[in-house]
Amino acid sequence: MIAEIQIPTVIEEGIVIAITGYAIVFVALLLLYYLFSSLSKFLTWQIKQNLIKSGRFPKHIKKEDSLHISGETAAAIAMAIYLCRDLHDDESNVLTIKKISKVYSPWSSKIYGINKWSKSPR
């Protein structure tokens, strides 16, 4: 004979609250999940349409997922752009050689390279 287990009313009520509450938390976050999965797909679709309109959509891409780039790839591209653009000064890329009137310059003149105190080789 199985003895009947008496559960106090408070506990019974508590079990109902716990199950309902947990279910509501799950539903709330499940809705967020579906919403943001859909939002991501919608935004990708929008990008694809814009690219198709402007004729820049690569034909070899079939799945929309391929339009996503990973954070690592994005970081590598950002680094490359930074190294290319920001690390160097902007220059005009025009070389100008001006002829100066003064012909003689002491620069690299041999007389200045001679040191009277230098030791002569033995």
């Binding site: 609250i17 716990a18 967020l32 943001f36 939002l39 991501s40 935004l43 780039i69």
Partner: protein
Amino acid sequence: MNRSYRKAFTVAAAIIVLFVVQTLLHQTHSFAAPLSVSSSADTGTSVLNFGGEVLNGIQKFISFTGFRNASSGNLIMIAVGLLFIFLAIRFDYEPLLLVPIGTGIIIGNIPFFQDGGVNLQLGIYQQGSVLNYLYYGVVKGIYPPLIFLGIGAMTDFSSLISNPRLILLGAAAQVGIFLTFLGALFLGFSMPEAGAIGIIGGADGPTAIFLSSKLANGSIVHGLQTKNLIGPIAIAAYSYMALVPVIQPPVMRLLTNKKERKIRMKPTRAVSKREKIIFPIVALILTTFISPGALPLLGMLFFGNLLKESGVTKRLADTARTSLIDIVTILLGLTVGASTQADVFLTPQSILIFVLGALSFVVATAGGVIFAKVMNLFSSGDNKINPLIGAAGVSAVPDSARVVQTEGLRYDPSNHLLMHAMAPNVAGVIGSAVAAGIMMSFLM
């Protein structure tokens, strides 16, 4: 002898000395004449009377000192405060929380004259004291939403937006809240008190304070007289949050095998600015429509995040994530610590709350890890989830994510799980706030 042992020995010796002095003073007081607060009516000039007045004055002074009024409970709590400060400084366990809370515990347990209903306006529970005014922010649930504003302004939801299915891990880990709620009911706590205790399982200090200030503040809630459990619940929540690196790893190892711990997850995709701006607005509307009770917390969380992501309110976002959150953390930590006044805090209920709190963290961690394994049954190839990140479903941000990263690196030194773990971690913050709102709507 080891240096740290010597320090611990010194602290213990100081406490014993305080205890002995206090006991002696209690004994001497029983032999002394009863104190009268008002001065003697006899204003005679005899030397004997003058001596009596002096003695009376000294005795009155002694009756007001901490040595005279100290109880063993005060000394125990001061030792706990010192332990918190030690853990924060020596082991770097949540120092931003444990140093203010530890100091608050010491401040709250400095003994003072309280007999005969005399209100010196010193203690945190005495009307009109400075600490009482500061504690108002805890009792009325003002500080937690401000903390959430700062958290929102410093949180990057990209990892969650890029892989939304990880949100479910944040929901799964909330099982800790509801099982602890049932556990508290079994142990004889009333329904509102059990709800407030259960939220410790969310591993979120501000949420725990917010809910306990509504459900277990010593007033009548749901037709039942509740006890003031704000102090024990807050201390339990913050203590276990600091101990996340100690509590979680054994549970994670117990529930996973080596192969599972080495699973590599595919890198998250880059998230556009538009998605980052839409997220707080949509999440705010959706979650608060479902659980309006969570409005003060989630409203401020997503408002803070919008300040960050909009890109046009940089100054406001900077203030929210630096100065504002720092000020509120100082006030919250200090007053929560000071609320542990021994005569209010040291009760059998507090011990039960601490036991339930520890179990709730274990259950929440297990819930997240097991759910990640269940999700893997329905995933294949690149989409497999490393079940360790399930442990980050508890909302101790970013500690549990850091624990996941450390555990992952232990088994594969090149497998970085931090960014993946941040998704369930921030989802856990949302989940625990939603759960708090649900508890309020059921129990208030």
